[in-house]
Amino acid sequence: MEYMFLINVDETQGPPGDPSSEGFEELMAGWFAYNQMLIDGGHWVSGASLQPSSTATVVHNGAVTDGPYVETKEQIGGFYVVKAKDLDEALELAAKLPAPGAVEVRPVMFRPDA
C-alpha cells in the first residue's frame, strides 16, 4: 500500500531551513538520512518540503485569495508518499521522521501514475 505523510510544522517557531542558522547542517543531515533510509528500504515514492504558508494562495471556485486555506498555528510543511506493507509499517516510518510535531498518515486511494 501507499501512504501519504502530511507533516505539520509550528510556523510560530520561525522559518526553518535558514542555511546561516545554527544547527542547520545537523538538521539537514537528519532529513538526508531519512530520505536515504526510505530509498534503501524500497519505501520511496515521492516527497517535498514546502515554502511557509505565508506564501500560499487559495483558489476557491475560481476566486483567488491570499492563503493559507485554514489559518492555524500548525501548517503543512512538507509531505512524503511512501510504500509500506501495512499501516503498522507506515506508522513506524512516520515515527522516524526527524520533524518535531504531528504527522498525519493517510492511505493513498488511487494514484494515476502508479
Binding site: M1, Y3, A84, D86, L87, D88, A90, L91, P107, M109
Partner: protein, 413 residues
C-alpha cells in the same frame, strides 16, 4: 446443556477463534466476519431440529469456511477468470491450524497466535476507543451488536455504525493482523480496553435489567482469554487479579434501595472468598519478579482492601506505598489524589494535605476540593474546610454529591 445455551456458548467461546483463523487465512476480516455470522445464523436455524453437533468448534469452522467460499463465489461469479482464485483462497483457508482447533497438538499455538492477532487488531491505537471497545466485544467476545447496545444503553444503530466504520478503516488504511515487535505498548492498550469494559459493568451494576449482558463478567472472561494467549505477561495477570478483587465485592456495593455503599460500610462477610483467593494466587505469581506495572500496582491496592478483615484492619501504610509506586509509574494527578487519601489515613491529615499541594491540573475537579476539605476538617481547620467544600459543591452536577457536600458544609463549626 440446552440448545440455547449451546448456541450462546458457540458465539461467545468459539466464534472468536474461528474468526481469527479465517481472517488470517483469507486476509480479509470483513469477509471472515460475514462468513462466521452466516454460520452462526445457520446454527440458530438448524441446531434446534438437528441437534447440537459433537464438536461445535469444528462445525463452526467448517460451515464458516463454506460460507466464505459461497460469498467469494457470488462476488466473483461474473468474472470466471477469478473464480479459480476463489478455490485457491478456500484451499488456503483449510489450514493445519484449523485441525488444531479440534485436535490437541502443535496447531494450538498457531490458533493462539491468530487469536492474539485479532485481539490486538481490535485494540489497535489507530482506532478510537469506542471503536476498540465495540470491536473487541463483537469480534473477540462474540457478542451481537444488539447485546453490546443494550449493555451500554445506546441504540443498536450506534454500535453497528461504530463496528462498520472501524472495519472500513481496518480495510482501507491497511491495519494489519499482526503481532508487533513492540508488544508491550499494544498489550497495555488492549488491557486498558478490557478494564474500560469491566468498569462499565462495575459502575452500572445497580441496573435492575437482568437481560443485559454483564460487562464486568464479559471483561473477566476476555481477560482470562488474553491470559491464555499471553501467559508470560505479568500485567495481564495483574489486570485479572484486579478485576476479581473488585468483582468479589459486587454484592455489597449497593444497598436494598440501590444506593452506593462505601467500602467502610460494606458487609465483608458477603465478599466472594473464592474470587479473592484466586486473585491472591494470581497476584503472588505476577509479583514474584519484583517488577511493577499499572495494573499490578492497582491490584496490590485492591488486594489490601479485599484481604483486610475489617475496615479498621486496613493496612494504610502498605496502600500508601503502593500508591507511591503507581504515582511514580503513571505520573497521573488523579493517582496522586488517591495517594494523598491513603497517606492521610496512614500518617494523618497534614501529610495528606502536603501531598495535595503538589497536584497540578485538577483545579476544576470537584474531588480534589472535596478531599482537601475533608482533610482540612479532620485537621480541625473548619473555616478552610468550608471554603473548599463550597468550591467542590460548585464543581459537581451530581445531585447525590451535592446533597453530601451541603451536609458537610453545614457540619463545619
Amino acid at each position: 446443556m440446552s440448545v440455547d445455551d449451546a448456541l450462546t456458548r458457540l458465539a461467545r467461546e468459539e466464534s472468536g477463534h474461528v474468526l481469527a483463523l479465517l481472517a488470517g487465512r483469507l486476509g480479509d476480516l470483513d469477509l471472515a466476519d460475514d462468513a462466521v455470522q452466516d454460520a452462526l445464523l445457520e446454527a440458530v436455524r438448524t441446531w434446534p431440529t438437528q441437534g447440537v453437533p459433537d464438536n461445535p468448534a469444528a462445525w463452526l469452522l467448517t460451515v464458516a469456511r463454506r460460507k466464505a467460499y459461497d460469498r467469494i463465489r457470488r462476488t466473483t461469479s461474473a468474472r470466471r477468470r477469478t473464480t479459480a482464485a476463489a478455490y485457491d483462497l478456500v484451499e488456503a483457508a483449510e489450514p493445519a491450524a484449523g485441525r488444531g482447533l479440534v485436535e490437541e497438538g502443535a496447531g494450538r499455538m498457531e490458533v493462539a497466535d491468530e487469536h492474539l492477532r485479532l485481539v490486538l487488531l481490535c485494540c489497535h491505537p489507530a482506532l478510537n476507543q469506542d471503536a476498540q471497545v465495540a470491536l473487541t466485544l463483537r469480534l473477540v467476545g462474540g457478542l451481537s451488536t444488539a447485546e453490546i447496545a443494550a449493555a451500554y444503553v445506546v441504540p443498536e444503530a450506534t454500535i453497528t455504525q461504530r463496528v462498520v466504520r472501524a472495519k472500513r478503516k481496518i480495510r482501507d488504511a491497511g491495519i494489519p493482523l499482526s503481532i508487533p515487535d513492540a508488544l508491550a505498548d499494544r498489550v497495555e492498550a488492549l488491557l486498558t480496553v478490557l478494564y474500560l469494559i469491566f468498569n462499565e459493568g462495575y459502575l452500572s451494576r445497580s441496573s435492575p435489567d437482568l437481560v443485559r449482558v454483564d460487562l464486568a463478567d464479559e471483561a473477566i472472561r476476555l481477560t482470562r482469554l488474553v491470559r491464555e494467549l499471553l501467559p508470560d505477561s505479568a500485567e495481564v495477570g495483574g489486570l485479572l487479579a484486579l478485576e476479581l478483587y473488585q468483582r468479589a465485592r459486587f454484592a455489597t456495593r449497593v444497598d436494598g434501595a440501590g444506593d452506593l455503599v462505601l467500602l467502610e460500610r460494606q458487609d465483608r462477610t458477603r465478599w466472594d472468598r473464592e474470587q479473592i483467593a484466586e486473585a491472591n494466587r494470581l497476584l503472588a505469581a505476577v509479583l514474584a519478579d519484583g517488577s511493577a506495572g499499572t495494573f499490578r500496582l492497582q491490584a496490590v491496592i485492591a488486594a489490601q482492601h479485599a484481604n483486610a478483615r475489617t475496615y479498621a484492619d486496613t493496612d494504610w501504610p502498605a496502600i500508601a506505598a503502593a500508591y507511591a509506586r503507581l504515582d511514580e509509574h503513571t505520573g497521573s494527578a488523579v493517582v496522586r489524589l488517591n495517594r494523598a487519601v491513603a497517606v492521610a489515613e496512614a500518617d494523618g491529615p497534614h501529610a495528606g494535605l502536603r501531598l495535595l499541594e503538589t497536584i497540578e491540573g485538577l483545579d476544576d475537579f470537584y474531588l480534589l476540593h472535596a478531599t482537601r476539605a475533608e482533610l482540612l476538617a479532620r485537621a480541625g481547620e473548619g473555616e478552610a474546610a468550608r471554603v473548599a467544600y463550597t468550591r467542590a459543591r460548585a464543581l459537581t452536577d451530581n445531585p447525590a454529591e451535592q446533597r453530601h457536600l451541603d451536609r458537610r458544609i453545614a457540619a463545619q463549626p
